[in-house]
Amino acid sequence: MKTNVVIRLVLQLTVCTYAVKSQTATPVLTPADLQGKITTNTVILKQPHCYFNETCSDCEIWLVPAISSAANSFDGDSTNNNILTLSPYPSAFGPQSKNYFLTKVGPQSDFPCDKSSDSLYFVVGSDGNCTTTNCNGILPTGSVVSFKYVLVQTSRITKVTNWSANITLFTPQKPASIYDGFVARSGAMVVITTILSVALGLLLIFFIVLCAVCGQKKESKPITGRGSMRMPRYDTHNLKDRVQPYENSAYEPERRK
């Protein structure tokens, strides 16, 4: 019985602490369908509705964009009285800098709980490469950043949210790095090329055979002339006995004396 009570107490305690923990909000990327959520140097976050329960007339919500590795640096500075001007935007990022800055989002009254909507967004970096201390300037290209919303009252931070998850900005690659060489042969090209080559070859072979066959036929064919006579010997006179046609009988007696 006692163990039962103890277990119940422990459970309640964990539930309570969990409930308290989950009350601290975490900034997120806008759930709206925006293609420009993350670019090379800007981010679009969900507006901080219902992140802080306080109701104070002069409270303002500010945003802290920071390089993820410098998050602890801000956490250490957050109790400073001059936190708003401690790291001005123009000198915020660099090897010797604090790598975070603060920019105003709006008065707490602009973000009531019941007006929370996924389609309301806040663009980090909308002021471009600006020069004032707390302007909404662009982030370093390709860096890994995290965000924190803070509640500011009389220039001092009174409440904070958790750090958001790390967000990696796009690092633009050079277009020359795209490989635009030959990719692959499509099936159609292979079919057309092979079949046409074979057809051309066959046609050529048949053509050569045709000329050869027709050439041969021309030479072996005997010439038949139906109308001409052919006789091996041709005599103009049709004489059966071979006699001398002109015989001199007067010559014979002279020969007998």
Binding site: T39, F170, F182, A188, T193, L203, F206
Partner: protein, 250 residues
């Protein structure tokens, strides 16, 4: 072969020649359609130096018309039953056959180079869009028209402009992350909703343009190479028959 058989063969040959004349006239017409380039995408193939699809179309124009004339001559040669004429017909058809083969194969091969995947088109777009050269102007005009008519952005999507550096980004660093023509425009060519265009909301066209470009160039290619292939196969068997007819003539 009996005289009756020869007459039958002649009749078949004349009929096939008439069909081939009609088919090659159609090839002539289709090749003209490709060469005219109704979709006006010639710049994309010309700037990359791979415009052989259109060269193949020009060859097909000539071979299509030449096939047509030679088939008519073939009808005359078959009816005259003349050996010499049939030989001339066969030789001319063979020569045209070779050229048409070249056209069909060239078109099919060149299409693979150009639109096998989106890399070549994407790289060309990133380098030449808004570049201040003659090639740049042609590509800029072509892409502006394609993006507005096809309601698309980039080669694979708007993220192409984020993932890569581009001449556009160098020339217009403070403008939208993607070209104006990626967003809906009014009739006076102003962006309809600049905020939505900047953040990439409803006003931005989300699909890539490569699909449309690939569809057009593939259609051009298949018109020249597959239809040319069909005509060639028909002519191949007709020529075999013509050779048989030639041998049977005396």
């Amino acid at each position: 072969m009996a005289l009756g058989g020869l007459g039958f063969l002649m009749f078949i040959l004349v009929a096939l020649n008439i069909l081939a004349a009609a088919a090659s006239l159609a090839l002539f017409a289709v090749a003209i359609w490709v060469a005219v380039d109704g979709y006006k995408l010639y710049a994309i193939s010309a700037v990359s130096g791979k415009d052989d699809i259109f060269a193949a179309a020009w060859i097909a124009i000539f071979t299509g018309f030449a096939f047509f004339l030679t088939c008519l001559f073939g009808i005359y040669a078959a009816l005259k039953r003349s050996r010499n004429l049939m030989l001339v017909y066969l030789i001319i058809m063979f020569i045209i056959f070779i050229f048409e083969c070249a056209s069909a194969i060239t078109a099919a091969t060149n299409r693979d180079y150009l639109v096998g995947n989106s890399n070549l088109v994407k790289k060309q777009m990133l380098q030449f869009y808004t570049e201040d050269s003659s090639n740049g102007k042609r590509i800029t005009d072509t892409w502006n028209r394609v993006m507005q008519e096809g309601k698309c952005c980039g080669a694979d999507g708007p993220t192409d402009w984020l993932t890569f550096d581009s001449t556009y980004k160098t020339n217009f660093p403070k403008s939208f992350p993607w070209p104006e023509n990626c967003c809906e425009k009014l009739s006076n060519s102003e962006v309809k909703n600049p905020t939505s265009c900047q953040t990439g909301g409803q006003a931005l066209f989300k699909k890539g343009c490569f699909q449309h470009i690939e569809w057009v160039l593939s259609n051009y290619t298949w018109a020249v190479s597959w239809y040319g292939f069909a005509v060639l196969m028909f002519v191949f068997f007709m020529l075999l028959l013509a050779m048989v007819y030639y041998v049977q003539l005396d």
